[in-house]
Amino acid sequence: MPTITYRDALNQALREEMQRDPKVFLMGEEVGLYQGAYKVSRGLLEEFGAQRVVDTPIAELGFAGVGVGAAMGGLRPVIEFMTWNFAVLALDQIVNSAAKMLYMSGGQIPIPIVFRGPNGAALQLASQHSQAWESWLAHIPGLKVVAPATPHDAKGLLKSAIRDNNPVMVLEGEMLYNTKGEIPEGEILVPIGQADVKREGKDVTLICHSKTVTVALKAADQLAQQGVAADVVDLRTLRPLDVPAILASVTKTNRAVVVEEGWPHCGVGAQVVDIIQRDAFDQLDAPVLRVTQADVPMPYNKQLERLAKPSPEKVVAAARRVLYLD
């Protein structure tokens, strides 16, 4: 199997879907001439032309709305946010137009649209450029939210997102773009709504997504050295959650730690905890613990930033606590 980067996997997904369906187009800041701020759209302007690879002004609210309007007019837009940090400006269009149009029109007007871009902190970008928005997005009925961790899932989920008839938020990661992974030739479609067990273990469940999959896998390595076998469940989709997969793992291990990049209060992990304690109450041998970003705006300083982020060490510590090893 060829090994490619997460960036190239996304690029392949875009290219293949644009080749397949002329209604698919890409719009956003710097996606065309500049080849994408993170080069995800490299070569697409050359292949598909300026009508289908559209550079926008800096106007997130506006071009998100243009995307929704284009979807109302029969197209299948892929809207790139240079980063999801800037999408905060566009939430009105995502929440009030994209997510509600089908419902408030009584089923007449579906909005097949993808909003995508890097989410969460990279390195030392400080507070305004280091935000993980998954729990906000996952809060909203009418949206789907995916957060792939590997090149394979990035390609497969982006392709599924583009074919979906609903607004799908694709949360990528700046720190993931250069990561590599094996990926079969040809069509890959990862279904939206399916978690993936990235490593099997019987002692404790580590639930994660996006960049925290690596964190959890590293923690699982360390735990293995300590004789603890962790089951690493990559949620992949945050709305709708794959509840059966979560419960299956917890039923096996009886203990869980949820890891996420976002802030703790009302995070995705809180919802996962809610589900586990409700539907696997009698299977739980310990409270579910969470590892999140520290409950602070992200500091610029490198040391502080490291302290603020979830780390394998923090996950190991939490896992040991739910195993009553410490």
């Binding site: 002004p57 709305g65 995307g67 309007g69 029969g74 408030m104 009584g106």
Partner: protein, 332 residues
């Protein structure tokens, strides 16, 4: 073609058009009066914004459109929905939240939709639908169509960022969009001059290199002609337009607001009512000998019957089933 060479057939077409426009204005007026009644009776709930006084705008514009053009609007959209051809029955049923409503009872007064009529809503966030209009224009151009998209909004929406972003993109990409600002002078209780540095909305056209016109929105014929010019620019050249239409709402902002308040005087409202677009056109048609009073009364009676039927249809229609609560959240 100059006036001198106008043929009788054209005269007749013109007369027919004007008769139709009068009928449509009357339909809106009577429909809105019925709406007020139904609201008072508790058949309609929530926010409900009437179009009385502004009828000439929707009617004049609508007459300049083709069936495959798009229309999108704010929450004050009953009139535009009706003249776009959504049956009064399903509009009234929607206002009453019935399953037979044009949005299945889920949208209500502020969210009327009819995809088949290319009426793309009914939107409640001020300014929110302007980027959608730009997007519809984008879709038209992308697909090589020659339709246009007309976007109705109030003058208070001019101050919000979405206005700025939407107009700039429509111009940069040369999209067939007509931004039609219904300047009725007030956003709720706030006179435009209290919150806008420049009070001629049309001035903004120069910031986006758009064609711009000020139109007397109390004169349906003038409105119609201006709309035709804008449609022409958009359809042929993909050149977007900003139309500032001067109009006036005769009622309060919504059914929960007083007719006038501290923000405008009773006298002002009375003064404006003298420019009533319906009596103006009726008067003209009588003067021109196109219609006499009897004919006008007959028109009015006909729309009255239509509106009564719509009310009855709504009254007799069922609520959505409980199970409808969870449908249409996601498409298949």
């Amino acid at each position: 073609m100059t006036t001198a060479t106008v043929q009788p057939a054209e005269d007749q077409a013109q007369a027919e058009l004007q008769r139709r426009m009068l009928r449509e204005m009357l339909l809106i007026r009577r429909f809105e009066e019925k709406t007020a009644e139904a609201y008072a009776l508790g058949k309609i709930g929530g926010f409900c914004h009437l179009y009385i006084g502004q009828e000439a705008v929707a009617v004049g514009v609508s007459a300049a459109l083709r069936a495959d053009d798009y229309v999108i609007s704010s929450y004050r959209e009953h009139g535009q929905a009706l003249v776009r051809g959504i049956p009064a029955n399903t509009v009234m049923a929607e206002l009453c939240g019935k399953a037979t409503g044009c949005s299945g009872g889920k949208g209500g007064s502020m969210h009327l939709f009819d995809a088949a009529k290319r009426f793309m809503g009914g939107h409640g966030i001020v300014g929110g639908h302007l980027p959608l209009a730009t997007g519809l224009g984008f879709a038209i151009k992308y697909q090589g169509g020659d339709q246009v998209c007309v976007c109705f909004f109030g003058e208070a929406a001019v101050n919000i960022g979405a206005f700025h972003e939407a107009l700039n993109m429509a111009s940069v990409w040369k999209l067939p969009v007509i931004f039609l600002c219904e300047n009725n002078r007030y956003g709720m209780g706030t006179a435009f001059e209290r919150v806008a540095a420049v009070t001629d909305v049309v001035e903004h056209a120069c910031s986006y290199d758009l064609a711009g016109e000020i139109v007397n929105g109390m004169d349906v014929l003038e409105m119609h002609q201006a709309a035709q010019r804008a449609v022409q620019r958009a359809r042929k050249g993909g050149h977007p337009t900003l139309l500032e239409v001067r109009t006036y709402r005769f009622m309060g902002h919504s059914m929960s607001d007083p007719l006038h308040g501290v923000y405008r005087t009773k006298e002002e409202v009375e003064e404006q009512k003298k420019k009533d677009p319906i009596s103006q056109l009726a008067h003209r048609l009588m003067e021109d000998g196109v219609l006499d009073q009897t004919a006008i009364d007959a028109l009015d009676a006909a729309v009255h019957t239509e509106v009564e039927a719509a009310m009855q249809f709504a009254d007799e229609s069922p609520d959505p089933a409980p199970g409808d609560l969870t449908t249409h959240v996601l498409a298949d």
